[in-house]
């Protein structure tokens, strides 16, 4: 019995779902091993009966929360798909200001009081509303990892997601460490699994896959001093995707 699979999106850029389309010829393999019963972006058909649901995007409004809870009730397994769903992603940047403030700035004095479309609160990741069984992290997640998770779910085994930092993969790729090039990279504290794609292309890691563990303060100070970097640079990079974690700093 092929598992029934459904894709849903909330507040997102739909890049994660696009990665499914980006599987190219392997999409034909995908539909061989699972039954895609709902995927609004590419198909008209829809069913409310599914085993595994993939959720892309963050939750910003009560109406989204309701929709998500319905999906959770119908799914045996729920997978948070992409940084916005897993950790809030870039959507969480706006949590630095209150929702009222942001709405006022953006929409001015328009009468949106009773409009449920505009009833936003602070951005939330999916696991802040419902329990999540598995995470496919990254912005966007790598196609390799997506295949890995789907294959594991189809085989009935736990997806093998690294618990170690990006540095392991970056070093295996023989990249020049970005710190040596005067940039602050979040690789040492970010979860691996993306094959260090950003450092391999010359740009520092932004931490889009989530922070593994907060580094010890003295270590950070030593590193900033050794590579002549400022605290500001570090803070900026850390706040791109991981607003909540680093705000205590």
């Amino acid at each position: 019995m092929k598992p029934k699979v459904a894709f849903f999106d909330f507040a997102s850029c739909e890049g994660c779902q696009l990665q499914i389309a980006n599987l190219e010829e392997e999409i034909l393999d995908l539909i061989k091993i699972v039954d895609v019963v709902s995927f609004r972006e590419v198909m008209k058909e829809h069913s409310d009966e599914y085993d595994i649901s993939f959720i892309e995007g963050s939750i910003m409004r009560p109406m989204d929360e309701e929709r998500l809870k319905k999906i959770r009730n119908r799914s045996k397994t729920l997978v948070a798909f992409g940084a916005c769903a897993c950790i809030g992603g870039v959507n969480k940047i706006r949590n630095q200001w209150s929702s009222e403030e942001v709405k006022k700035e953006v929409y001015g004095n328009s009468n949106l009081e009773d409009n449920k479309y505009f009833d936003v609160y602070q951005t939330k990741a999916v696991n802040e509303i419902v329990p999540v069984d598995y995470y496919i992290r990254g912005c966007p997640p790598s196609r390799e990892e997506i295949k890995k998770v789907i294959t594991a779910l189809a085989l009935g085994k736990k997806p093998d997601i690294p618990n170690y930092p990006v540095c392991v993969e970056c070093k295996k790729n023989e990249n020049i460490c970005l710190f040596e090039l005067g940039k602050f990279c979040l690789g040492p504290i970010t979860r691996a699994g993306c094959n260090a794609i950003c450092p391999t292309n010359g740009e520092p890691c932004d931490g889009c896959r989530g922070i593994l563990k907060k580094p010890q303060v003295q270590c950070v100070m030593d590193v900033l001093k050794r590579y002549d970097l400022t605290y500001e640079e570090m803070k900026r990079r850390a706040l791109l995707y991981n607003y909540n974690e680093e705000d205590e700093k």
């Binding site: 850029c13 779902q17 034909l28 609004r40 972006e41 590419v42 870039v90 959507n91 936003v120 791109l240």
Partner: protein, 434 residues
């Protein structure tokens, strides 16, 4: 005809983002026709506040997964405009190929995966597997794969590119890689022609609907423009004063939409492949011109359904253009350049590019520390919402006699024809703060 029609398409399928079509007819009288945009607003412009100039590209790329290269480039152009940074010719050509790649990827995804199913009479591409049209599906997938291969190679990653940075590229492709790409592009010309023929065979399913409206896109004297050009309108001509784009693109809020609408000379206007075609069709490369000829597509075309065909034509043009660009680069020899150095200064910059769905504007103001104090983005789909609404208002009376299911399908096809990118369009509005 005194019938009742009640159509409520919630979260239309096969478009990017969330949109609703509402049609209410009582005893033959049209009570309500509405194109609603309930997509969650994400407040991107708010998020750009106070960010350093080198982060703007990373954040705005996430406005859209499909046009992330386009957003990145518009963002970089705006930043470079504000800081007075010039990029090398090599970088400019590489960026042009990257934009071609995105256009190709998006258009073939739209025409092949999102729009064509309607022409083949199926709900998605999946039923095509094992059918007599499986061959076409396989070709479409191959075209999509090569487009992604192109942007993967140039930008490091096709969705949310990595190598596009302020001043140029963080890493340059090698000569070997460019030669291989050229070979792949040459290899897909034949399959593209075959797919075009297949679409032609079913193109009679595209409704013959026209409504005169204004078309706005970039226009250029030297080429069919994507990366560079001047704002132009089919009504009022070329507008070189790009920093004052607001005079052309006038946005306003409507209650049924979290995205804004836009107008200029008329109540609404259209941006996108058809707009570009209507303004620049004479600059198409030869094979692309042939394909346009095949479908009898001529400027000025007022049928929004032909936007799908214009996308197909552009796909072919992008292949030819990329091959020419690669030849130019190799003639001059690829140099392993570093991005242009940045000197921080106060300033305002505007970056305008054509992305698959139309003309895109990013507008940033930077302070003396290199941080953004003000930002505005005009998204192509925003500009189309008004046109969609107006089209529906004209189209519905013309098809009101049809069965309800058929009306629904036709309205969906109309929306799909615009290839809306709704997540993009609800990023948000301009922000003023001290």
């Amino acid at each position: 005809m005194s019938k009742d029609v009640n159509i409520n398409v919630h979260h239309i399928t096969r478009v990017e983002g969330h949109g609703n079509i509402v049609l209410d007819v009582k005893k033959g009288e049209i009570k309500k026709i509405q194109w609603q945009v309930p997509e969650a607003p994400r407040f991107f412009e708010a998020m750009l506040r106070g960010r350093h100039y080198d982060e703007l590209r990373t954040i705005t790329s996430r406005i859209c997964g499909i046009c992330s290269i386009g957003h990145s480039l518009a963002s970089l152009k705006a930043t470079e405009d504000a800081l007075d940074i010039k990029i090398t010719e090599q970088s400019r050509i590489l960026r042009q190929i990257a934009l071609n790649a995105e256009n190709m990827q998006s258009h073939i995804l739209h025409v092949g995966y999102l729009a064509a199913p309607d022409l083949f009479g199926v709900g998605s591409v999946f039923p095509l597997v094992g059918s007599k049209n499986q061959d076409t599906l396989i070709k479409i997938v191959k075209l999509h794969r090569i487009s992604n291969y192109m942007s993967d190679m140039l930008c490091g990653r096709t969705t949310h590119p990595i190598r596009l940075v302020v001043g140029g590229f963080s890493m340059i492709p090698t000569e070997k890689q460019l030669l291989k790409l050229k070979q792949e592009l040459n290899n897909i010309i034949q399959p593209t022609k075959e797919v075009a023929q297949k679409i032609l065979d079913v193109s009679d399913k595209l409704p013959n609907f026209t409504r005169e409206t204004e078309y706005i896109a970039l226009k250029s004297e030297k080429e069919y423009p994507f990366y560079e050009g001047e704002i132009a309108s089919t009504d009022t001509g070329v507008f070189p004063d790009y920093k004052n784009y607001k005079k052309i693109m006038q946005e306003y809020i409507v209650p049924q939409s979290t995205a804004k609408y836009a107008k200029h000379n008329r109540d609404s206007y259209m941006a996108g492949a058809l707009a570009r075609f209507n303004l620049n069709s004479d600059k198409l490369h030869p094979l692309a011109k042939d394909v346009a000829e095949m479908f009898k597509l001529k400027a000025v075309c007022y049928n929004p359904f032909m936007n799908n065909i214009a996308q197909l034509v552009e796909f072919v043009h992008n292949i030819e253009d990329s091959i020419i660009c690669i030849d130019t680069l190799l003639e001059k020899e690829i140099k392993d350049e570093k991005p242009t150095k940045v000197k921080i200064k106060k300033g305002r910059g505007v970056g305008i590019v054509e992305v698959p769905r139309g003309i895109l504007v990013h507008d940033y103001t930077l302070d003396g520390n290199g941080n953004c104090t003000k930002a505005n983005c005009i998204i192509p789909t925003n500009q189309n919402h008004g046109n969609i609404q107006k089209d529906m208002e004209k189209f519905v009376p013309e098809i009101i006699h049809k069965k309800e299911k058929e009306i629904e399908l036709n309205l969906e096809m109309l929306v799909r024809a615009y290839d809306p990118c709704i997540s993009c369009s609800t990023h948000y509005l301009d922000v003023k703060f001290i």
